[in-house]
């Protein structure tokens, strides 16, 4: 029973990592779309990565200093997204596309880091607990 449940649990986390990797690939493919579509995709990717980071932190896959750094990075990326909105409205399409490309690359790196954190959590779970053998009576 224990072994079966542990196997299922361990199988689920790599699934999460696969999902994140797929997300990374998708984010990398942002550039060729129209600038509006690229911006929409980057917005959706941002929200997805933020929600996943929050969940990974909730399950203990990310420690407090790391989530602090991730939040700081995401605040910077959010400012870049705001900048992309302004540039697009002002008709500065080329600069907007470059900004979106920059931030999509940063989002990719971040989601890759989250994927690694999920995999690391699996490794921790996979480490067998030490077997404690009770001492025979009179041994102590």
């Amino acid at each position: 029973m224990r072994k079966v449940l542990a196997a299922i649990a361990l199988a689920c986390l790599p699934l999460a990592a696969v999902g994140l990797s797929a997300c990374t690939t998708q984010v990398e493919q942002l550039a060729p779309k129209s600038p509006r579509n690229a911006l929409a995709e980057a917005e959706i990717a941002f929200a997805g990565v933020a929600n996943i980071a929050a969940r990974l932190y909730g399950m203990g896959a990310i420690d407090t200093p790391t989530i602090g750094r991730i939040i700081s990075e995401m605040q910077d990326l959010s400012a870049k997204l705001d900048q992309a909105h302004v540039l697009l409205k002002a008709g500065e399409t080329l600069v907007a596309v470059n900004t979106i490309e920059d931030l999509s690359a940063a989002l990719s790196a971040l989601s890759l880091e989250l994927s690694i954190a999920a995999e690391r959590r699996v490794e921790v779970e996979a480490t067998p607990a030490p077997v404690i053998v009770p001492a025979p009576p009179g041994a102590i």
Partner: protein
């Protein structure tokens, strides 16, 4: 089943739920991105997405630490 086994099972179930939830989050994000790639995006759409991004960032900022 002893207390230690029960605790192990509870932890395994918690991990399973979290793993599936994260997988679903990643999958839903991908689906939405694919949808957004193939349709014309209006200013209103961008404003809604911006609001969702800000809400997600707020949730991240307000995590108990």
């Amino acid at each position: 089943m002893d207390a230690k086994t029960l605790a192990y099972v509870a932890e395994a179930i918690r991990l399973m739920q979290a793993g599936l939830e994260i997988f679903n989050l990643a999958n839903a994000t991908l689906s939405r991105m694919n949808q957004a790639a193939g349709v014309p995006i209006t200013d209103d759409d961008l404003a809604v997405l911006k609001g969702q991004r800000e809400a997600a960032l707020d949730r991240l900022r307000n995590l108990p630490r």
